[in-house]
């Protein structure tokens, strides 16, 4: 006796509390079991790449802020590195140090949101608010330094828009010592909570080879146990001067590469970022942060590809210059976009509620997916 069952199409989004923006997921479900997931993109498309062609090189920087708006410093960083490579500029030491500290602070802030929303999607709203409270601290450091809380336009080609604020070192040190308590609290409140573990462990298992084949990067790849971090493996700026570890998923609560591992890698990465900041903050040399900024940015003909380790993974800029003041083409390899492709693979055979947990653990930012 074969029972005939029909699948049902459930539209999740674009207006849904936990699709992290205007993502539309077309879920094909059988009861509550997922048969297929189709993400529909483009609701937030703002033509970044096309816009960039009409901009002068330095005018593109504020646009890069708006891609991954939770990690704007990292976006700036990748772009300015690309243009500096094209121009052949060596930036002063001070700038390098400040850039690394900023990028790591931004990584913590971004992971705060990622972890918080992952928890909030699963129902734990309180850790989400604790993390936002602490993210606010980082944002106010940024605000004091460059005047903006979210869209910084801080790293310029060849330098920085402002030197660090006199309070910067003190406040950053305060933050690093304070934030360690938050991580302990977060671990007790959320990471090891039995319900949270049950909801995320063994859910959305991403084997290492699948992750590599899909081109996943960042915590998604490292959650699968692949020790790959551009800061170490294709080192840029001055990351090779610091001593830090790359946390990878070990399957402590379930299988390697499950949602919990992806979540936990982020928590441990925050600790490593704190380590980098603590090492860098005392070594900032004196100097002028704007001395290397070129008067007119007119790179020679050529192409360049640089990649940086953004909180969400490998952020790559491919830029073609035709010798003009405007870039001929800017192509962005957005980590969220690439990581989102895996969603369909991960969700198959899980329940509707798991889609949320998996999506939260992939941690996408729609501004970057759609650009």
């Amino acid at each position: 006796m074969a029972l005939k069952t029909e699948t049902m199409i459930l539209n999740m989004g674009p207006q849904h509390p936990s699709t992290h923006g205007v993502l539309r997921l077309e879920l094909e479900i059988e009861g509550e079991l997922i048969v297929n997931v189709k993400p529909h993109l483009g609701y937030l498309h703002r033509c970044f790449e096309k816009h960039a062609e009409a901009m002068q090189y330095n005018q593109v920087v504020p646009y890069t802020d708006r891609m991954d708006y939770l990690a704007a410093m990292g976006n700036n960083f990748g772009y300015v590195l690309a243009i500096e490579k094209l121009l052949g500029i060596q930036v002063p030491e001070r700038v390098e140090y400040i850039r690394v500290i900023m990028a790591e602070l931004q990584r913590i802030a971004s992971h705060c949101v990622a972890i918080g929303t992952n928890g909030a999607d699963i129902g734990a709203l309180t850790p989400f608010l604790y993390l936002f409270r602490d993210r606010e601290y980082i944002l106010s450091i940024f605000e004091e330094t460059c005047g903006a809380r979210m869209l910084y336009n801080y790293m310029w080609i060849g330098g920085l828009s402002h030197d660090i604020h006199p309070n910067f070192v003190r406040r950053t040190k305060e933050f690093t010592s304070y934030f360690k308590n938050t991580i302990v609290e977060l671990d007790n409140l959320l990471s090891y909570n039995k319900i949270f573990v049950e909801r995320t462990a063994n859910i959305g298992i991403l084997p290492a080879d699948t992750a590599i084949n899909y081109g996943a990067t960042g915590p998604v790849l490292r959650g699968s146990g692949v020790k790959f971090d551009l800061r170490k493996d294709d080192t840029y700026s001055i990351y090779n001067r610091f001593d830090f570890d790359i946390p990878v998923g070990k399957g402590l609560q379930g299988t390697v590469g499950d949602s919990w591992d992806r979540y936990y890698v982020r928590v441990r990465e925050m600790e490593q970022s704190l380590r980098i900041i603590e090492q860098a903050i005392d070594q900032i040399p004196e100097g002028d942060v704007q001395s290397a900024i070129p008067k007119k940015i007119k790179p020679p003909k050529g192409t360049v590809y640089t990649r940086v380790e953004n909180p969400r993974g490998e952020l790559g800029y491919f830029i073609i210059s035709d010798g003009n003041t405007n870039p001929f083409r800017v192509k962005v390899r957005a980590p969220s976009f690439v990581n989102l492709e895996i969603l369909g693979e991960l969700c198959k055979g899980h329940l509707v509620a798991d889609v949320i947990a998996i999506l939260g653990s992939i941690d996408i930012v729609l501004g970057e997916v759609d650009r």
């Binding site: 901009m55 330095n58 005018q59 593109v60 920087v61 504020p62 646009y63 802020d65 309180t126 604790y130 409270r133 606010e136 605000e143 004091e144 330094t145 460059c146 005047g147 903006a148 869209l151 336009n153 828009s161 402002h162 604020h165 609290e185 007790n188 409140l189 959320l190 090891y192 909570n193 039995k194 319900i195």
Partner: protein
């Protein structure tokens, strides 16, 4: 069976640990800032609404060109000899009437790129962030201190001056060929 009891224990224990943490927070003071009553002291580098000190503006249009979203709109008219525009605070001589200087804050992305090229430091970002309006057009701020009539007058003056010059040129050269009269300078 061992797994079963362990799960039960972990379930109860971790819940109690979490409850302890939230209970502790029940008595920690709130971090909220009661916004309209309490306002944070904003840092001096705060990037909010732009302000243009029009007395110092020389109408060089650099800010408008630096703007990635083209929200600054400047129209200038060359002064005619005999008009005294005064000098800017850092001693530059002004040569243009700024007949129109509008910034559309609905477009502005607060990137501060316009501030750096300014030779007289007359455009800068302030810490004013409360300027919401009911009309989108109210967000277009006019910074020029000339009234519409004055601006028109300046344009007419310049056109007259130009025409005069043309005439003189034509008379002086007595050549049949005339050059294109240059338009009032907008760039």
């Amino acid at each position: 069976m061992k797994e079963y009891l362990k799960n039960t224990w972990l379930g109860i224990y971790t819940v109690l640990v979490g409850m302890k943490i939230t209970f502790k927070h029940l008595f920690t003071p709130a971090v909220t800032i009661q916004y309209p009553e309490v306002k944070l002291k904003l840092p001096e580098r705060e990037r909010n609404r732009l302000y243009v000190n029009i007395d110092d503006c020389i109408g060089c249009d650099q800010c408008s060109r630096a703007c990635p979203v083209s929200c600054i709109d400047i129209e200038t008219v060359k002064s005619i000899p005999g008009e005294d525009l005064g000098t800017t605070s850092n001693g530059k001589k002004k040569a243009f009437w700024v007949t129109n200087f509008t910034i559309d804050f609905a477009k502005c992305c607060y990137c501060q790129l316009c501030v750096f090229p300014c030779p007289t430091e007359c455009i800068y970002m302030t810490d004013v962030f409360e300027f919401s309006t009911y009309e989108r057009n109210d967000l277009v701020y006019q910074f020029s201190n000339l009234t519409k009539e004055e601006a028109e007058q300046k344009k007419i003056n310049f056109a007259n001056f130009q025409a005069e010059k043309e005439k003189q040129k034509a008379a002086a050269a007595t050549a049949p060929k005339t050059e294109n009269p240059s338009q009032p300078n907008t760039n």
